[in-house]
Symmetry: C2
Subunit: 304 residues, 2 copies
């Protein structure tokens, strides 16, 4: 049993109304793997970096039980770099720099030892790369989840649709669900997206929580109102990591268990945004996680 | 025991991406009173209309147990009229017409028989009028709730703050909470607003649900994802009506009971938006309400 994640491993420069950091650790797969490591003991990472990405960070991943055999290191290459600036309304951000660097020529290669992965998380990337990873799996994983974004709907819709057809869980935000389905009602959007392939649709709404649709059912995980939100970068990936890590650990893909996983993902995301980069995500104590999960329960629990 | 509501009784013309209606029944107090009537058996209304507002609608209110002795009817006058057009994103709307008409000279007058009201709902109106109603009460009601909006923060902040100081529950949306408090974090906004007087803060987020803050606690009521949303007009008032109607009926102002009331208000609002004007709100069967409340529970209930 293991969780295989493909996605970016990167450097970020981030400015929010609450501070500014330069060339810190980032990347979808980095957030996913760290968040999942609080649950899954057996993870495998597929990505690409230049030799500028700190060796100590690779070691830190290994120490969390994450196999990095599939992490290609390009000698003399530069790692993917993203810079962004958030508005006062943290739901809005401007991308200032996107340097693909080594990511531009990324061809994922699955080590033989990765073939037993039963859970596959496809972080936001070119749909062609996501598809290539699925195709390299000799046996279809028990559960494939895929994150994507509006950018791919604009520039690679055909290949995006082919990839979406192959996955079980699609995670996108509400605007993207509307764009992909052409439906304003999220209930109708979910129905339209189920026709494209996925059995589950997770709609991420940032500070407004997340919805999980399955057949005619729907479940909602709130976002915890926080005293401080310093940096929303990676919150969606952290959510996905908590979600998939919990599923892998419990090895249960029932709707009831996906509900629990949605809450766990939301709890992990609530930690992520409290500090810049992975500063909080790398240092969550088990009592903090327990008490955060209790806060989530109190937030929505009532008797009526 | 009774619920006293002050607010507008009006005509609306509404255009949404899903249809258009001309000069239909509207007004905050109308929505509040109808929604509350599914719970409270004893309501009193304070408002003003022209003699153009249908007598049959007044009778319909009376038939729901709503005393309209405090509803002033101006002979030859015209009722308040509002026209608006909603965007594709139903959270955005443009006001096309605001004809105050008889509302321009509204001086609320409480009939003697209204003095026993223990629950007071101040619908969105000039803060001066809201304050005048509080001041006319010989005995302070057990619970005073007040709805307001950014417009009054822009044009009547002094009088708004004086009124807010006198109430127990303030209901505003997230943007307004940020504007009023100067804080972006809703947790910090709530703390700042508690210093202004209220013990409870309800933050209405439309399709993203509602938050209830009290001391250091917070509770969240989701919005039910709906197949069809035809007209969001009056949703916030319907929410307030369900909330206050439930409180009056149960005569319990504990935080635990306010949580239940928040869910009830959200359920009522989910009916409101399914049809134009009060079309659905006037015709909710008790089995529909029960099953809607069950849907709300299923939406957020999980075991973890």
């Amino acid at each position: 049993m293991s969780l295989l994640t493909v996605g970016t491993v990167a450097f970020d420069s981030i400015e929010t109304p609450f501070g500014k950091v330069e060339k810190v650790i980032g990347g979808a797969a980095t957030y996913i793997s760290w968040a999942a490591s609080y649950f899954s003991q057996n993870q495998k990472l597929v990505s690409i970096i230049g030799d500028d990405w700190p060796k100590s960070e690779i070691k830190a991943l290994n120490n969390r039980g994450i196999d990095t055999q599939g992490l290609q290191i390009v000698k003399g290459g530069k790692s993917f770099f993203w810079a962004g600036k958030y508005h006062e309304d943290l739901n809005q951000r401007d991308t200032l720099v996107t340097d693909l660097n080594v990511l531009a020529d990324f061809v994922p290669e699955l080590p033989e030892s990765y073939q037993d992965a039963e859970f596959l998380m496809l972080g936001n990337l070119t749909p062609d790369i996501q598809m290539a990873v699925i195709q390299q799996m000799e046996q279809r994983p028990k559960l494939i989840a895929m994150d994507t974004m509006n950018f791919w709907m604009d520039v690679a819709m055909d290949s995006l649709l082919k990839t979406i057809e192959m996955v079980d869980v699609l995670t996108i935000n509400d605007e993207e669900a509307r764009q992909l389905s052409g439906e304003y009602s999220l209930v109708k959007a979910a129905r339209a997206i189920f026709k494209l392939g996925p059995k589950y649709l997770v709609i991420k709404k940032g500070e407004h929580g997340a919805l999980l649709f399955h057949e005619d059912e729907v479940f909602f995980a709130p976002a915890l109102p926080l005293l401080e939100v310093k940096d929303p970068t990676g919150a969606g990936d952290t959510f996905a990591g908590g979600f998939m890590g919990y599923l892998e650990k419990s090895n249960d893909t029932s709707f009831e268990n996906l509900k629990r996983a949605l809450i766990v993902g939301s709890a992990m995301a609530s930690f992520c945004v409290e500090e810049f980069s992975l500063d909080k995500l790398k240092n969550i104590q088990s009592h903090e996680l327990e008490s955060r999960l209790k806060e989530f329960k109190n937030l929505v629990h009532y008797s009526l």
